[in-house]
């Protein structure tokens, strides 16, 4: 994990290469275009926020990027490779790892076991090893999982069942698992929703640390304070289309964005 992160952060300094690029990404559900010709670009080392009112297509966008649903049209390129038609587990293998809205965890497993599953792609495993090894998990995998728990501040919760963790910790555990999969691009789906100010502040600080260690972050979030304080660039979706794009300051003063969020009346009142 460390080596990859270090080499990535070095390459980031040299050039901010395009990591993720969608062209004309479209997904229809029946007659509804949930995502409509979206061109999304994420450069290596960025923290990009994807925002928009409810039903704007943010989560559909995530599902498309992570391979859970197939686009009706358009392409997704990750690090130059076309990943449009890949299945979820193949997408993860390329280094594009997502988390889920709400607390999607392996509830009946411990924190450590959850993170060990996050290591899935990087573990040596075979039927022979399963049958003849005396150990359940190699010590290095356990050590690495504990490292990730430590990094995310969950070290003391390693042996708790996931379902017994407080809400905030459950959300962070979801991030820890994604980190264990060694992402190059981390897709966070509403990482701080339902958290209090203190908790969300800590998670957003964690997101920054993750980025500083060389992982690019694309996040969907409704908590504007968190988004504005963390993201360097924001893409606003509305009715499945890109409405605006730019720095937090640009986006938050954009008339079209204000209209989408607050309705036309207020924009007129301000204008």
């Amino acid at each position: 994990m460390e080596e990859r992160i270090r080499s990535q952060s070095e390459s980031r300094r040299v050039s901010a290469a395009l990591l993720l690029e969608t062209q004309g990404l479209t997904r229809h559900f029946g007659g509804l275009a949930a995502v409509n010709r979206v061109d999304l670009r994420v450069a290596e080392g960025e923290i990009v926020g994807l925002i928009g009112p409810n039903g704007a297509g943010k989560t559909t966008c995530f599902n498309l990027l992570s391979g859970f649903i197939r686009p009706t049209a358009g392409t997704i390129r990750f690090d130059g490779e076309d990943i449009t038609r890949l299945r979820p587990h193949q997408v993860v293998k390329r280094g594009l790892v997502r988390t889920f809205q709400l607390t999607t965890l392996f509830q009946e497993l411990t924190g450590l076991e959850n993170v060990l599953l996050g290591l899935h792609l990087h573990s040596r495993r075979s039927l022979g090893r399963a049958l003849f090894s005396r150990r359940r998990f190699p010590p290095d995998e356990i050590a690495r999982s504990r490292e990730v728990l430590e990094f995310t501040g969950l070290a003391s919760q390693a042996d708790q069942l996931a379902r017994n963790l407080p809400h905030g910790h459950q959300r962070v555990l979801g991030i820890a698992m994604a980190l264990a999969a060694r992402p190059r691009l981390l897709l966070l789906d509403e990482p701080v929703t339902g958290m209090n100010l203190d908790e969300s502040g800590r998670v957003m600080a964690l997101v920054k640390t993750i980025r500083d260690r060389g992982v690019t972050v694309l996040l969907v979030e409704h908590n504007m304070k968190a988004v504005m304080g963390t993201c360097e660039r924001i893409v606003v979706l509305n009715f499945g289309q890109t409405l605006a794009e730019g720095s937090p300051a640009e986006v938050s003063t954009n008339a079209k964005v204000i209209e989408a969020y607050l309705g036309a009346g207020l924009a007129h009142a301000r204008g």
């Binding site: 993860v92 392996f106 497993l109 599953l117 996050g118 899935h120």
Partner: protein, 321 residues
């Protein structure tokens, strides 16, 4: 705690070794069938852990039984080879049926497996030149292991015990490895498992085929032990029984299906083959769902909890309550 458990297991194992010399042929027969049921129940567990409701396990037992019996009877193949062939045929058929249908979830997959049981039963019934159909396949040789024919019921009992222990050992090792954790993860949240890079289709298929393989082993032993195969025996009823073993025993632990199979097959022994057998299994299932949703294996914990609660309330009557 761990020592205690190992000790209990060793004592239990020794007791099982002593059944043939101490019990009569009747007990030997009954226990050998219990061992087959344990293999069947335990081999269904990986698939259930992945969240796939398989109500067709008896079909694979049937396939293993017929394949092994026909090989031994018609080609004089020794038991160790015919059993392996039977198990492999069951696993390959499992691959054929599992590959397309494991994409289905919940009740849809269950329906495919139910239909499959009937298909296999009908094939066994209608392919008369090969299986003798409804006349039943008789004259199956006794298990011939490494050149020695196991003529006595007692020796066949030990064979069954050995096969059961070997099966349980393999399944236990797999379940407690990373593979078992992956199966559990698929059962709990398959979308999350996928998002961590787990190829859930392949893992479900592996768990399913593994179950089919050991169901084939159970079938092969059964064929050479009873020495008579009758298609309706491996029907829907037996398939549901295997499922009931898992639920009554408990889904939460590896011991669940073992306890369930042993408990239910011993208790249902007086009704074996009669109409009451179905009623017995239904009642057992209903009672479990109502009173012990976690299965029999949660009974000790429940009792301890009850006792602790009683003594706690006796010592310190809480004013808040």
């Amino acid at each position: 705690m761990r020592r205690l458990r190992v000790g209990v297991l060793i004592v239990l194992g020794l007791l099982l070794l002593l059944v043939p010399p101490l019990g009569g042929d009747y007990y030997v027969h009954v226990f050998a069938l219990v061992f087959t049921n344990v293999i069947l129940a335990a081999s269904l567990r990986p698939s259930l852990t992945c969240g796939q409701l398989n109500i067709g396990h008896s079909a694979f037992m049937s396939i293993g039984a017929y394949a092994s019996a026909l090989l031994a009877k018609n080609l004089a193949v020794p038991f160790e080879v015919s059993m392996l062939c039977g198990a492999l045929v069951a696993a390959v058929v499992g691959l054929g049926i599992g590959y397309p249908s494991l994409r289905l979830r919940g009740v849809y997959f269950a329906m495919v497996t139910v239909a499959f049981v009937e298909v296999i039963r009908l094939i066994a019934q209608l392919w008369v030149p090969l299986t003798r159909g409804m006349s039943g396949l008789s004259g199956i040789p006794k298990p011939n292991l490494l050149g020695v024919t196991l003529a006595t019921k007692a020796s066949q009992y030990y064979l069954a015990l050995f096969l059961m222990l070997l099966t349980l050992l393999i399944l236990w090792k797999l379940e407690s490895s990373r593979l078992g954790l992956i199966w559990k993860s698929i059962g709990m949240a398959d979308n999350l498992a996928q998002s961590l890079g787990v190829n859930i289709a392949n893992h479900k298929l592996l768990a399913f085929m593994l179950g089919c393989f050991f169901a084939g082993v159970a079938g092969a032993f059964y064929a050479h032990f009873i020495r008579f195969l009758f298609p309706p025996e491996f029907g829907f009823l037996m398939a549901t029984n295997i499922l009931v073993y898992n639920y009554v025993g408990g889904r939460g632990h590896f011991a669940g299906p073992i306890v369930g199979a042993a408990f239910l097959s011993l208790l249902s022994e007086p009704f074996r083959g009669s109409a009451y057998e179905t009623i017995f299994f239904s009642i057992a299932m209903l009672l479990t769902i109502l009173f012990l949703p976690g299965g029999l294996i949660t009974l000790p914990g429940k009792l301890a909890e009850l006792r602790g609660w009683k003594s706690a309330s006796a010592h310190s009557p809480s004013p808040a309550a």
